[in-house]
Homo-oligomer: 79 residues x 2
């Protein structure tokens, strides 16, 4: 079973990486880029076969390791 | 208009970051994690109002800056 986790900085938290990308896009001539936020995408292959169990397990992984929930929000999708 | 870009290493390309996450999850007691791949998620706010134009523009950004297409594949989604 596969899980897809996205981790993004919360709104209001400064995102220097996204800001650097926005600046670089402008320098390359892409006008009309109003904002960029950059986050992480993590794909996990799981041995679990029950979707509910898998989701609970992946959420625990996010809380413990994959996301810093003080400044980041995450989503979990079971595929 | 908003675009969501995902950039992942191609299959077969070594992913040391994903491997480190897999190892850390195992050390934290999460059994049954068979593989982890880590990529980037980039959200872009665009001034463009036409979805087709926006998608073409974002694909050009990926080819030029956001992804290294030799070792990475990307997807573009217009929201």
């Amino acid at each position: 079973m596969k899980a897809r986790v996205t981790v993004m900085l919360r709104d209001g938290v400064l995102d220097p990486q996204g800001e650097a990308v926005r600046h670089a896009l402008g320098a390359l001539g892409f006008a009309g880029v109003e904002g960029v936020r950059q986050g992480k995408l993590i794909e996990i292959d799981l041995a679990a076969t029950d979707p509910a169990t898998a989701e609970a397990e992946v959420r625990a992984m996010c809380e413990k390791l994959l996301a810093n929930t003080v400044i980041e929000r995450f989503t979990v999708e079971i595929l």
